[in-house]
C-alpha cells in the first residue's frame, strides 16, 4: 500500500509569518547585545562620575547574594565592608549597581562612625542574570570594588 502524503499548499500568510519571525530574530540578536553593552557602559560611567579617576582596589568587601535567584523581584542582598569605623577611618558610602537592570543604580548607603559596622541587608530586584557591583568609598578617599554574578530564573522588572 502506498502511503498518500498530502502536500499542503504553502500560503502567502505562512511565508510572511516565517519571514517575520526570521526578521525578528535577526533584529533581536543585533539589538539586544548592544543594549547590554550600553547598560554596562552606564555602570562604568556612573562609577566614574562617583569616584572620578580614583583607582578602585579589591578586597574588604563581602557580598552576600544567592548564586541563583528564582524570583528576580526579591533577591536578598547583603554586604559588609571591613573598617574600624572610627571618627578618622570609616566607610562613607556604599553604592550598589546591577549591570543589566533597566536602571543600573540600585541604592546608595551612607554610613557614619556611629553606624559601627558597614553591614547592611536588604532586598533587590534583578531583571536578568547579571553582575551586581558594590563600590565602597572610605573616609580617606580610597575606593574598593567587588562584584558577583547572580543567575536569575524569573526576572523582576516590569512585565
Amino acid at each position: 500500500m502506498v502511503r498518500k502524503i498530502e502536500m499542503q499548499p504553502v500560503s502567502r500568510r505562512d511565508i510572511l509569518g516565517f519571514a517575520g519571525a526570521a526578521a525578528f530574530t535577526a533584529v533581536a540578536t543585533s539589538l539586544f547585545p548592544k543594549a547590554a553593552d550600553a547598560a554596562m557602559a552606564d555602570v562604568d560611567a556612573a562609577i566614574k562620575q562617583l569616584i572620578g579617576s580614583t583607582e578602585t582596589m579589591a578586597g574588604r568587601i563581602t557580598i552576600e547574594l544567592p548564586q541563583i535567584a528564582e524570583n528576580g523581584n526579591t533577591v536578598p542582598l547583603g554586604f559588609e565592608v571591613e573598617s574600624p569605623m572610627t571618627d578618622s577611618d570609616y566607610v562613607k558610602s556604599v553604592h550598589v549597581f546591577a549591570e543589566k537592570n533597566p536602571f543600573p543604580d540600585v541604592a546608595t548607603f551612607r554610613f557614619t562612625p556611629a553606624s559601627a559596622r558597614a553591614k547592611v541587608s536588604t532586598r533587590m530586584r534583578l531583571a536578568k542574570t547579571q553582575n551586581v557591583i558594590v563600590v565602597a568609598q572610605m573616609s580617606d578617599g580610597s575606593v574598593y570594588m567587588a562584584k558577583t554574578e547572580v543567575k536569575v530564573t524569573i526576572g523582576g522588572c516590569g512585565g
Binding site: D105, A107, A116, S121
Partner: protein
C-alpha cells in the same frame, strides 16, 4: 499619598558602646515605572520610596538613597553603636513627597 505601614525592631536596652542591629520594614509597592497596565498597555508611573534616614537622638547616623531596583516592601537591616539613651527615628520619603515616620526608644546602661 500612598499608605505605608512601617515596622522597626530595636533592642530596648543595650550596654554603652555595644553594637546592635536595627531591622526596618515598610509596606510600600515601590512601583518601578517599568510595569505596564495589562488593560490599557500604558506604563504605570514610578512611585517609590527614594530616601530612608535613621537619626539617633536627632543626629543622622545612617541613610539610603533608593532606586527602582529596591524590592517592594523595602526591608533594611543595619547596625548602630549605643552611645546614650534616647530615641531612634526612622524617616522614609517617597516620590510624591509622602513622609512616613517611626520612632523607637532605647535605654543605654
Amino acid at each position: 499619598m500612598a499608605k505605608a505601614k512601617a515596622r522597626v525592631k530595636v533592642p530596648k536596652t543595650v550596654a554603652k558602646g555595644e553594637i546592635f542591629q536595627v531591622k526596618t520594614l515598610i509596606s510600600h509597592k515601590m512601583e518601578s515605572g517599568q510595569r505596564k497596565d495589562k488593560k490599557t498597555g500604558e506604563k504605570i508611573p514610578r512611585l517609590i520610596i527614594n530616601s530612608f534616614v535613621c537619626k539617633y537622638n536627632g543626629e543622622e547616623v545612617f541613610a539610603c538613597d533608593w532606586h527602582p531596583a529596591i524590592s517592594a516592601n523595602p526591608y533594611t537591616a543595619f547596625y548602630l553603636k549605643a552611645s546614650e539613651s534616647g530615641s531612634i527615628d526612622f524617616i522614609w520619603t517617597d516620590d510624591e513627597g509622602g513622609v512616613f515616620e517611626k520612632s523607637a526608644d532605647i535605654t543605654v546602661t
